[in-house]
């Protein structure tokens, strides 16, 4: 990947073609910023994961104790299960709806622009505000949906999926809308001449043409669901019991409720490794990195 990117150093072959590219120094502020606010804290957290530290005084070396605790913690297995389940269910829920909405919104119907703008509103609200709003709406005594939503595992889980979907479907709809608008009109015209109906057009043209869009949207959704946090904190606090305690919540609890920063750092490091591995895997599996065009053969 890096071999195709020129750093812009003078005298290299091919300079003539890429002469317009910026010098590497332009990347410096971004790289520095990223190093200071992402790489350095990550390295420090990794170091802290080998210590025992309650936030006061100096961290004490603890060897592999935190890591051993992590891999023996039944809550880790549970929260990985919850996280995977949440990711799969949320992905299905959000992808189906935002794909359909996005394709619809790419068309030329009456009132489309107005409705699209309304659909987009939830994304403009903060996660915290949305979670608080739904918390009130789901109140068993005064809400619109009566019943013990957060007292049952499936209720709490579905509430998180629904609230997350309500917030993020607008964003993914926007991505799909953009993708659908890029599909050349001639494809549909040709298909219409060949006698393809709306459904045939959707499955044979729209869906395949949206392959890269779907990958982008899915990677964002899946990696995003690994760092899902505020909604869980406000709606369920990991409950009932520990049934919705996803990894980021487990980390928050270890760090800022139990003040076990060593253990919280071990969870954090695990999360970084898992998220990185997952997104690399997704990119490789979907062939996204290769950037193959959807217009091949056109």
């Amino acid at each position: 990947m890096s071999s195709t990117v020129s750093t812009g150093t003078k005298g290299r072959p091919g300079q003539g073609v890429r002469a317009g590219r910026p010098h590497a120094a332009w990347a410096l502020p971004g790289v520095l910023f990223f190093a200071f606010f992402a790489i350095a804290p990550m390295a420090l957290a990794f170091y802290l994961s080998f210590t025992s530290w309650n936030g006061l005084g100096d961290p004490e070396p603890a060897g592999l104790a935190n890591w051993r605790k992590l891999f023996n913690d039944p809550r880790l297995t549970q929260s990985i299960t919850v996280t995977v389940l949440l990711t799969v269910v949320s992905w299905t829920f959000q992808t189906v709806i935002s794909l359909l909405l996005g394709v619809w919104a790419a068309g030329r119907q009456r009132n489309r622009a107005v409705l699209s703008a309304i659909f987009f509103t939830p994304f403009l609200l903060s996660s915290t505000a949305i979670a608080l709003l739904f918390y009130s709406l789901l109140d068993p005594n005064f809400g619109i949906i009566r019943g013990d939503t957060f007292g049952s595992t499936s209720g709490a889980f579905l509430a998180i999926v629904f609230v997350g979907g309500w917030q993020f479907i607008p964003f993914h709809t926007l991505i799909y809308q953009g993708g659908a608008r890029q599909i050349p009109e001639v494809l549909y015209q040709a298909a219409a001449i060949d006698g393809a109906g709306r459904y045939r057009q959707f499955f044979s043209i729209t869906l395949p043409q949206l392959r890269n869009t779907a990958t982008t949207s899915s990677v964002l959704m899946i990696v995003g669901s690994l760092t899902y946090f505020e909604t869980v904190l406000i709606l369920t606090q990991g409950g009932p019991g520990t049934d919705t305690a996803i990894l980021p919540y487990l980390m928050y609890e270890a760090g800022f409720k139990s003040y076990d920063f060593g253990y919280a750092s071990a969870i954090a490091s695990f999360l970084v490794v898992a998220a990185t591995a997952l997104s690399l895997l997704l990119v490789r599996l979907t062939g996204f990195g290769a950037m193959r065009s959807t217009r091949e053969g056109m």
Partner: protein, 435 residues
């Protein structure tokens, strides 16, 4: 100094990653002992006006001039106070004086050598020594040593009830467990949930176990646990309390969906005030909450009584659980210990007690009795003051009494018991496993 900056850097690094760079990089504005201004970090809710007035008075006083120091109040809003304090205390900007809950909430600071031992200061100073109720001073102590001076109102937990509803269904405030169960049966028959419960917050559920364990086994059961002996969870009283809770839940004593009701968003107080539940086990702040949210209900129909006696139990009905009060503790790294201690004496003054009373709080000072008539509701004030003054034992809320790394899993286990994810015996063995 070098080690402080390293620690701070580590802390900032860790917290940046943990919170994804959102919060908690120290509170920053503290002056941390430079010059003659001391910072006092305080939980910034409505009651903070009492501390603001005290700071103003102190800064203008002769005591402040003599000690060559002045106090600057740093108000931290919201429930994340403990986390903010922990970050600040690990940074070079640590406050000189800070608000806390005594007991387990300051144990880590004591262990790290960050607290000034105030035992001798209090013992040798007539103002501080005789200024406060002894049980309240003792409740905030660690291992018999004082690290804090009381600075807010008392917050005992009691049973609130709806007077109109009790009259309508010919009920009496329960003094024994059988009476309570009898009341429950009648209320359920009338289609009313006996108790409001903000189960989503978990700590209102904790209150039930605190009182049941006290009434069944006496205060020494938790005393043992508090002192670090986790085998204390194996006491039969804990199991009996858990079984009793399970019975209440199975009987529908808390109504439908209590796990989805919170106290903090005023959900449970609304359930209670709007007649959907007849009673509410809650801290004394329930009174001011109701007064703020449902003033009509608070003035006309709000009744209160002690938690009933458990038949055959070892605990005295006069025993109290809850938060005796909040405390000021002094940071060992303060640049002006004399000024800090001079400021603490301000909390024992009559004017300070009067300010608390005016705010609807009941001071823990020994002179409070004669001020109670000036309270917004003298009847409630007197009940509360006498409840605490006459209590043979005042058990600090469990989640404040034990170390934070015990209290977090403890609350999780309590939540599991209440939502039916674990049986009473599973509950007991899970707690025994906490270390």
């Amino acid at each position: 100094m070098e080690s402080y900056s390293r620690r701070w850097f580590l802390g900032a690094g860790a917290t940046t990653l943990i919170t994804a760079g959102l919060t908690a990089c120290g509170s920053g504005s503290g002056s941390g002992g430079s010059g003659d201004t001391l910072t006092a970090m305080v939980y910034g809710d409505d009651a903070v006006k009492v501390q603001s007035a005290a700071v103003k008075r102190f800064n203008a006083s002769a005591a402040a001039k003599k000690a060559k120091g002045r106090i600057q109040l740093e108000k931290v809003p919201g429930s994340d106070y403990p986390a903010k304090l922990r970050t600040a205390m690990g940074s070079p900007h640590a406050p000189d004086v800070f608000f806390n809950w005594g007991g387990g909430s300051i144990k880590a600071y004591k262990d790290a050598g960050q607290l000034v031992d105030l035992t001798d200061t209090i013992g040798s100073d007539p103002v501080l020594k005789s200024g406060f109720l002894p049980s309240v001073l003792a409740a905030g102590a660690l291992g018999g040593r004082n690290y804090g001076v009381p600075m807010r109102g008392m917050q005992p937990v009691m049973l609130f009830y709806n007077k109109a509803m009790f009259a309508e269904h010919k009920l009496q405030p329960p003094t024994t467990w059988d009476q309570l169960l009898d009341n429950n049966a009648k209320l359920k028959k009338a289609g009313i949930a006996p108790f409001a419960l903000g189960g989503a917050d978990v700590w209102p559920e904790l209150m039930w176990l605190e009182y049941l364990v006290d009434r069944i086994g006496g205060p020494q059961v938790f005393e043992k646990i508090k002192n670090g002996d986790s085998s204390g969870w194996g006491d039969p009283a804990v199991l009996k309390a858990a079984q009793t809770v399970k019975q209440l839940i199975d009987d529908g004593a808390f109504g439908q969906g209590f796990s989805s009701v919170a106290y903090t968003n005023k959900g449970a107080p609304a359930v209670f005030a709007k007649g959907k539940a007849a009673m509410h086990l809650m801290g004394s702040w329930e009174y001011s909450t109701q007064l703020g949210e449902f003033p009509d209900f608070a003035k006309k129909n709000l009744g209160w009584c002690p938690f009933p006696k458990f038949d055959g139990g070892a605990g005295d009905i006069r025993n109290v659980v809850g938060n005796p009060t909040n405390y000021w503790s002094v940071n060992n790294r303060t640049s002006n210990k004399d000024a800090a201690i001079a400021f603490l004496k301000e909390c024992a003054s009559e004017q300070y007690a009067k300010d608390l009373i005016a705010n609807g709080d009941i001071p823990t000072t020994s002179n409070a009795a004669k001020l109670l008539d000036a309270a917004p509701n003298p009847e409630f004030a007197r009940f509360q003051y006498e409840m605490v003054q006459q209590a043979p034992a005042f058990t600090l809320s469990w989640d404040q009494a034990v170390d934070p790394n015990i209290s977090t899993p403890m609350l999780t286990e309590i939540n599991k018991l209440f939502v039916g994810k674990s049986s009473p015996s599973q509950f007991v063995s899970a707690l025994q496993g906490l270390k």
